[in-house]
Amino acid sequence: MSLLSVRGLRKSFGSNVVLDGFDLEVSAGECVVLIGASGSGKSTLLRCVNLLETVDDGVIHLGSEDITDPRVDPDRVRSRMGMVFQAYNLFPHLSVLDNITLAPMRVHGRPRADATAAARAILERVGLADKASVRPDELSGGQQQRVAIARALVNSPELMLLDEVTSALDPELVGEVLDLLISLKAEGMTMVLATHEMAFAKQVADRVCFLHGGAIHEEGPPAALLGAPSRERTRAFLSRFVGL
């Protein structure tokens, strides 16, 4: 059974229909990479799954729970997922450590000592143990994004949603984040990530989905989809990437 199941999802902003009957199944431990032009609905899909947007129609299941049911508590559903944003969205007035301990303490009710220990362990894991007490604006973009990933990971989410997490980073910093995601995948974390970084698709994806026209236009294993796309629109999109 799928961990995440999206069926017939529709979402529009005004007259702009972004997702139109979107279907996606993600099994536990799977890493699905969403590619597609800007505006093709990658971010909108992730925001709908995280309940940051209200869907117009369709159903999203997390495990066996229909999370699009208005009777479910969105805060509890969100606390089961970790979301990472393109612009990191760290809290600038809090230290790195406090950014990470905020949700464990306030959402999951863990005592401060416990949350701090968990945060320090996770900072160690993302290679930033020495940065616990600094403010986010003193870190490089790659370090900030690793803190944002740590902040999402500390709550032991069932599912990680990553929205163009490297679009603001230079190639060297992209490498830092990519290494972290590869190790997460090795541990069996379920991930859905939207990206323009084809290296991500190649190195971490179990499956790559090309979004076009409000739905998945073509999908497949990375080698097949990136190497020999069968549909014209996919070929046209991928032909713009040098070195594929």
Binding site: L52, L102, H108, N155
Partner: protein
């Protein structure tokens, strides 16, 4: 322009590669220095001339002795100083109490106005009505209504002291302004911060409390302090209720012989009170300028 090697000097201690400005740069610096000295000299001379001329005209005009006698009578100033100063102590206490209450009430109203959902409609309506009403009503009118009107009702359980109602009027009026400052701050925090907070599972209230409001308050600190500078002098308006503050004390002293020097004394004291606060506000604003941008 290349710098010939013979123009480099050896630094003490044998460091041969120490940088010495080139002849061109030294010439440019000398020129800039000479311009600075010239500008300073022109500014000083013109200031002395203008102030001197104004002073001479003022003190040699026919009415000056009467102005000096009525506004700048040293003996009168010394005599009235203790009374005015003890009045000012009341202004300071009013200021401190009101500043705390205004901050709390202003922030509460601002948060009320940002609440979403139909359940909170009455609170939103109350917040909007409160700010519209008390930003529109002249402070003097509120003071007179509360200070003279309410005690005249003779209702049981309500305080009768003029100071209490004076403070109430100040708190109501200023909270409306301060609430708008806070609301502007809350709305200036980028929506992505809210999205990040909510995606972690924080509730709307928790997002406000731990993420949005702390950032908002930092941003609006300079305009907020500016409102408190304004409150410092408006605390003198409670004098209309007969409370003996600095202004009322000066008025009493003046009434003895129609010499206005005590008013000048009170004015100088108020300025002395607000100037440090204004400088502190500038300092805070400058500090925010360094770190306030580009964070979100």
């Amino acid at each position: 322009m290349a710098n010939p090697p013979d123009e480099r000097v050896d630094a003490p201690g044998g460091l041969t590669d120490r940088w010495v400005p080139s002849a061109l740069e030294q010439e440019r610096r000398a020129y800039r220095r000479s311009r600075t000295v010239r500008s300073a000299a022109i500014a000083s001379i013109s200031t002395i001339l203008v102030v001197g001329a104004l002073g001479w005209v003022l003190t040699h005009s026919s009415g000056w002795p009467r102005v000096q006698e009525t506004f700048f009578d040293w003996d009168k100033a010394v005599a009235s100083f203790p009374a005015v100063l003890s009045g000012l102590w009341l202004n300071i206490r009013v200021l401190l109490v009101c500043a705390v209450l205004i901050t709390v009430l202003g922030l509460t109203i601002a948060v009320m106005r940002t609440l979403r959902g139909p359940v909170f409609f009455p609170l939103r309506l109350f917040g909007a009505a409160f700010t519209d009403l008390f930003r529109g009503l002249p402070l003097l009118l509120v003071l007179l209504l509360l200070g003279f009107g309410v005690p005249a009702l003779g209702l049981d359980g309500l305080p009768q002291e003029a100071v209490f109602w004076g403070c109430a009027a100040l708190v109501l009026s200023y909270s409306a302004y301060v609430a708008e400052v806070f609301r502007a701050g809350i709305e200036s925090v980028h929506p992505s911060q809210r999205a990040a907070a909510r995606s972690l599972g924080l509730t709307h209230t928790q997002s406000l409390r731990f993420v949005i409001v702390p950032q908002a308050v930092r941003r609006v600190l300079p305009p907020l302090l500016n409102d408190f500078v304004s409150l410092q002098k408006d605390s003198g308006l409670i004098a209309v209720l007969g409370v003996v503050d600095a202004i009322r004390a000066a008025q009493i002293e003046t009434a003895r012989d129609f010499n206005f020097t005590p008013y000048v004394v009170a004015g100088v004291l108020f300025v002395c009170l607000t100037v440090p606060m204004a400088r502190f506000t500038d300092w805070v604003a400058r500090r925010q300028g360094f770190q306030g941008s580009g964070l979100v």
